[in-house]
């Protein structure tokens, strides 16, 4: 496994969302259009094998269930489709899901057991959908109260019942999405005991307002991390009552994942994944995981300035329009790629620059190890 990140350039426009299949041989990706493209890995590159075209408006989110191999897509057309692979024809067949929302769907995720999925929407509700055997269709139940604005992101708790939601009303909430008949009563957790559908198990703010762009439960489910447009990351642990808000000196993050119980990676408008670590009891920013792509000309000594004046007739500091990170534009999605939920080894990021990059978490910790005195 090479240490440097694996950059995949598709050159088909900005990537709005992506999802890998269970064994990472296939990729579902949307280039800000009404269709989702399926790519298959061939050697070091990806070749397109099929197109999922049913939506009338841009697809906002896609998720691929690793074990049942079903894809769910949701779009601004207020619909979601569940796609199953037809064995004989190798075609993906769509099934419409009635979400009963009157605004765009923004985000979708399969539950850990893959028997439900949750769709966030601009209708200020979350549609939790499950398959009803009797009628042979997907039914959605709404989580509405007390959401006051568009739900921007979701994350499922490992127990398949609790659901975290980040919202444009500047709150991160944890709901119960318990469906009678589908779910068994969950074990008591720090989030609550009796948990009927739509119970609010927690409502949290970050420091200075701002939409909550990304939410993520820790691998054990004991803690919740969320990131807002005020450039903070907040980690909440209801078991200990601990709430920590880290004010980052960087541009806002749009997406977060946990590498393990002590490390969080967040990525967003600074175009690079940033690592936050738990040292003792305190969470703090550790480092950017993008060892900047070094360019020959980037020096600020007097000698470099004169050299630049000679070679490029530039008297000011470098007026390059390229950003010194692998991604050239905002990263909007970060997802675990390999390893287990409690020990993520690689993660993938997709960005508005149309690149999908797979990062190696292990090499990062080795590199950081070298930074110690």
């Amino acid at each position: 496994m090479s240490d440097s990140p694996i950059v995949n350039e598709f050159n088909q426009g900005p990537i709005s969302c992506h999802a890998f299949n269970g064994d990472r041989t296939e990729l579902a990706i949307c280039f800000n259009t009404n269709v989702v493209s399926i790519f298959r890995k061939s050697g070091a590159s990806w070749t397109q094998t099929s197109t999922l075209a049913e939506h009338d408006k841009p697809v906002t989110s896609v998720d691929w269930a690793p074990r049942s191999n079903r894809i769910v897509t949701c779009s601004q057309d207020r619909n979601a489709y569940v796609w199953t692979l037809d064995g004989a024809s190798h075609q993906w067949k769509p099934t419409l899901v009635l979400l009963r929302i009157n605004r765009a769907a923004t985000f979708v995720r399969w539950s850990p057991e893959e028997d439900k999925f949750a769709v966030a929407s601009g209708s200020r509700c979350i549609s939790v959908c499950y398959f009803e055997e009797d009628n042979d269709w997907w039914v959605g139940k709404h989580i509405k109260k007390p959401i006051r604005s568009t739900v921007l992101s979701l994350d499922w708790h490992p127990n398949n019942v609790l659901l975290a939601a980040g919202c444009a009303d500047m709150k991160a909430r944890v709901f119960s999405a318990f469906i009678k008949g589908i779910d068994k009563k969950p074990a008591p957790s720090p989030w609550g005991e009796k948990l009927p559908f739509n119970t609010v198990c927690g409502e949290f703010s970050n420091g200075a307002g701002g939409w909550i762009h990304g939410v993520a439960f820790s691998p054990s489910g004991e803690s919740l991390a969320f990131t807002g447009h005020d450039s903070t990351i907040t980690v909440v642990s209801p078991g200990t009552g601990d709430i920590q808000s880290i004010r980052a000196p960087y541009l806002p993050y749009l997406s977060v994942i946990w590498l393990n119980e002590n490390q969080i990676v967040a990525a967003g408008h600074d175009c690079a994944p940033h690592l936050f670590e738990l040292k003792g009891q305190q969470w703090a920013f550790t480092a950017s995981l993008d060892a900047a792509v070094k360019k020959a000309d980037v020096g600020f000594t007097a000698r470099d300035t004169f050299r630049r004046m000679d070679s490029r007739a530039q008297s000011a500091t470098s007026t390059d329009t390229e950003v010194h990170t692998h991604h050239q534009n905002t990263i909007n999605s970060i997802r675990p790629f390999s390893g287990t939920p409690g020990h993520v080894e690689q993660f993938s990021t997709s960005a508005i620059d149309g690149k999908l990059i797979i990062w190696n978490a292990n090499s990062i910790s080795r590199g950081l190890g070298n930074l110690h005195l």
């Binding site: 200075a208 307002g209 701002g210 447009h229 004010r247 980052a248 000196p249 541009l251």
Partner: protein, 155 residues
């Protein structure tokens, strides 16, 4: 499908309006008299700290408990004046060290006041405020500026 001619969001009954957002972010507003009294007493405290030469204490004191809330225009203007007095009486050479000694919350409040001050260039020395802005951004980063923009609690 033709574009709608009705502004559907204006007809929304349960809209998440400004008042509700401010109540959520700022909370119950204190009585006007209390807020103004606090701002005035802070102005005096800061002035006396400045006279004694305690610039870091004056800076820190001026940045505590800003009068957040929509109805407090006069109090906000008065408080901004207090902060400007402190900033103007500190030499540029001392700025980096003072900025580093502030807590993250105080740094965010300071950035809010820098922008509030720069919004009135006739009254305040924008050049001096820009020097403060540069030094504060070196320490607190772009995140600090973003927080000024997203925070509903304005000065």
């Amino acid at each position: 499908m033709a574009f709608r001619k009705i502004d559907i969001d204006a007809l929304e009954e349960d809209a998440f309006g400004e008042d509700e957002i401010d109540f959520q972010e700022i909370g119950e507003l204190r009585p006007l008299a209390d807020v103004e009294a606090e701002v005035n007493s802070r102005a005096q405290e800061v002035r006396s700290l400045l006279q004694r030469g305690n610039t870091s204490g004056a800076l820190s004191a001026s940045l505590q408990n800003p009068p957040y809330g929509a109805p407090f225009h006069a109090a906000k203007a008065r408080n901004t004046q207090t902060v400007m007095e402190v900033l103007n009486s500190i030499k540029v050479a001392d700025v980096p060290q003072l900025v580093k000694s502030l807590s993250p919350e105080e740094q965010d409040v300071l950035m809010k006041y820098l922008y509030a001050g720069m919004a009135a260039p006739e009254q305040n020395n924008s050049g001096h405020l820009l020097a403060w802005h540069e030094k504060l951004t070196e320490v607190a980063g772009q995140g600090c500026i973003v927080r000024v923009i997203t925070d509903r609690r304005t000065v």
